[in-house]
Subunit: 467 residues, 2 copies
């Protein structure tokens, strides 16, 4: 009578022989690996989840996957918003969550070397003991991994002033699809030796290799007391003009967030605050550093000149209360229905026009699209709300118009969430067919057998392509 | 009797038919294209210099070069220090110096769109009228082009605080080897759509394509009066420790330059200043922005604590006088003999050890290596001096030891000058053979026929490779 292992696929048997119980085929693990936080899931459960605990585990898994032509989907905490880490039938999941060590912290060199599975927020708590921080601060930072942040090229609230992931990584250790380990980048803050493959890996959404370590560029914690400003405007367009006036005035706030009327009303309802006046939009701004107070004063004057009603505080608790309204956006949206969170980014001057486009699309499709924006850098998150569990076709058609409008205004499909599965059909439209094919050819250099996250990012193909 | 044009190679005849007198075969132009400022020249004059005046000129030139298998070397102002733009027999030079327009300046979006041939310093003068600047400031900025800065991924004095070229480019328009035009990157400050090919092109030294336009990320001119600090120390190691103490203290100077004793003595002699005390090394530091004075005071305290003798001023003329000593480094070196300017970069904490290594190599080879460092970011420029017109073998052997020492200390071959021809033999040592081959395969995706700057950067091949 055959032993149970023989009933498994040969690839699982080989993995188990090497990795033992780090190969997980429990129904709960397989089911969890089907979806991220985009509201989208794969067609069915994957083959298995490998819980890697070391670079050697990753290499061995990939060698077996490569030998057997088994597709591999790398996952962190599964907080992505574009479906890039969703794994389906026949795919192997490589979970990095157990590789979460901080290997080195160097306050003198302002760098840290970490494994990819550490949570961004957890790293920040460790770094704070040294007076340091890693600036990327996606809204998901308490639940998302550094490796996931690197895979998506994550941004966040603070990035207009302090940069995105691409500005904060000196090097990565990358395991290629065939199991070979490369050390990309450097420990020195400056370097131009060869091609910048570190930047190429950042935001590559699991298509080029598996990040097993990262050398991060740190900052010292900013001294001084932050000032927080809340300003309301009669509508989103006026608020967008107010934020543009702040940028034009030369101030550089740490945070500058815009909430349109629908967003503000939804959050007020969720938090049981008095409802805002109809149409009212809000800017929430924070200045920091030794000039926080002077910058806040300058910004207040600019916002009043732009027609805003302004509140300003240097009290930490009151500042947190004002920011909480912005931070409650995701639960407020969830309370409205099924949400497709979009992520277009436009030149800052196009922000008012983009809000006009969103209003036009709402009317054209008879839907609501509450929208928040990282106004300091022109990155908008329009939330397409529907009342069915699956995202209905009308939402996809409206999103299609939104993407085209953003590109027309000089913008881009995705500011910080990535392409994943959800936006791959629009990728060639932004890149052009020649660039789309060139990028896909670069993927093939890293992964000639095409086993890493196949179908993601470069799934849709331009007309006439042989992809 | 054949007409003179028939005596030319078919490729020149085809180029002239399309580009007329923009195809330059004057002996002076051909001779000038053989060398950059590295002190190194090619074996002989190239075929011709094409003075492109438009993207269409570049595309037509490349189509003809591609058809005929003619290698193409792209040149800006020829101020490179690694030989990347040196053109030799059989090669066609594509000069970008006549494409120097500023196409767009957007103060509201903090961006400019420029052609590649504009000089960095010229651009800054144009931007200053709008209260703006482009931060990259290589020492060559008055004579080097923005396109050349992009090709090398240039740095400069200000980059510890304000970033390098890679931090200051949103997108590039790139003509591929076969003449196709791609638009890489974006106008929005944030974006993660597809692979980051803009970063890949920055620092690629003419191997991936021809940059015909760039969308630059600007800053507003920093307000306030800068403060300048000069501090002398008994030796370079103490000065390096002083700079490390400044970084460790949390200050972020705009400029922090270290000159060792040989550099300082040479400059004093050139400028006819009183000779410094034997062994004396100097830090020259500038703080800027609204907190310049407070930061200068904090730094002064730190430097005195580290054993420095400190002068500080907020007078612009006096500040310029102090900085002039640093800025006179290149002519001072030229006055000593033939110079090979090197460019290693190490983690900041390794700066004192790197100075020890340089002293050791000086003794071992009986040579002098005056060294300056961008101490704020660990980037050293050791100047290997010799008295023969050609760089002698002993210098190359000493440089070889220097590179190995830098890599051993966690550093890199080149912080801001690039690999070019002069450092290609060490490239595989830093990257590892697997990464070296992967990078070269990426070059082949962009340029399968291998006509763009062949032999540069990836010239030396690892053992056993089929490059």
């Amino acid at each position: 009578m055959p032993a149970p292992a023989v009933l498994e696929s040969p690839v699982l048997a080989r993995l188990r022989a090497v990795l033992g119980d780090r190969v997980d085929t429990s129904p709960a693990a397989l089911e969890a690996a089907r979806a991220d936080r985009s509201g989208h899931a794969s067609d069915g459960p994957p083959l298995a989840v490998v819980h890697a605990t070391s670079t050697a585990d990753v290499q061995q898994t990939l060698r077996i996957a490569h030998d057997t032509g088994t597709p591999v989907v790398v996952r962190g905490a599964g907080t992505g918003l574009a479906g890039a880490a969703n794994a389906g039938p026949g795919e192997l999941v490589l979970s990095m969550l157990r590789m979460r060590r901080v290997l080195e912290i160097r306050p003198d060199d302002l760098l840290a070397v970490v494994e990819p599975g550490i949570l961004n927020g957890e790293l920040d708590r460790v770094l704070a003991e040294h007076g340091l921080w890693w600036p990327p601060d996606p809204a998901s930072k308490d639940i998302s991994t550094v490796g996931g942040n690197i895979a998506t090229g994550a941004g966040g609230l603070l990035c207009a002033k302090y940069g995105v992931v691409r500005d904060a990584v000196l090097g990565v250790d990358l395991v290629l699809a065939d199991g070979r380990l490369l050390h990309l980048g450097r420990r020195a803050v400056k370097g131009v030796t060869g091609l910048d493959l570190t930047s190429l890996v950042i935001g590559s959404e699991g298509r080029l290799g598996v990040v097993v370590g990262a050398t991060l560029k740190l900052r010292r914690i900013v001294p001084g007391t932050p000032c927080t400003i809340a300003a309301t405007f009669p509508d989103a367009r006026s608020a967008a003009r107010g934020s543009a006036a702040v940028t034009a005035g030369g101030a550089q706030p740490a945070i500058m967030e815009l909430m349109d009327a629908r967003s503000l009303a939804a959050v007020h309802a969720l938090l049981e605050l008095a409802p805002p006046a109809a149409g009212l939009a809000q800017l929430t701004i924070q200045t920091d550093g030794p000039n926080a107070a002077a910058e806040a004063e300058q910004i207040t004057t600019v916002l009043r000149g732009a027609g805003g009603t302004v509140t300003v505080t240097d009290d930490a608790a009151e500042g947190e209360r004002l920011l909480r309204i912005r931070r409650s956006m995701h639960p407020a949206m969830a309370s409205l229905g099924t949400t497709l969170i979009e992520d277009v980014s436009v030149p800052r001057s196009a922000l008012p026009d983009m809000f006009d486009e969103i209003a036009r699309i709402e009317r054209a499709y008879d839907i609501v699209i509450p929208t928040v924006a990282h106004a300091g850098d022109g990155n908008l998150h329009p939330n397409f709300i529907s009342d069915s569990a699956e995202i209905p076709d009308v939402i996809w058609r409206a999103a299609d118009e939104l993407f085209r409008a953003a590109i027309r205004l000089g913008g881009t499909l995705t500011g910080e969430h990535g392409i994943g599965t959800l936006k791959s059909r629009w990728l060639a439209e932004e890149l052009g067919e020649d660039q789309w094919e060139l990028q896909r050819d670069i993927v093939r250099v890293f992964d000639p057998a095409g086993i890493l996250n196949p179908g993601k990012v470069f799934a849709a193909r331009p007309e006439g392509s042989d992809a």
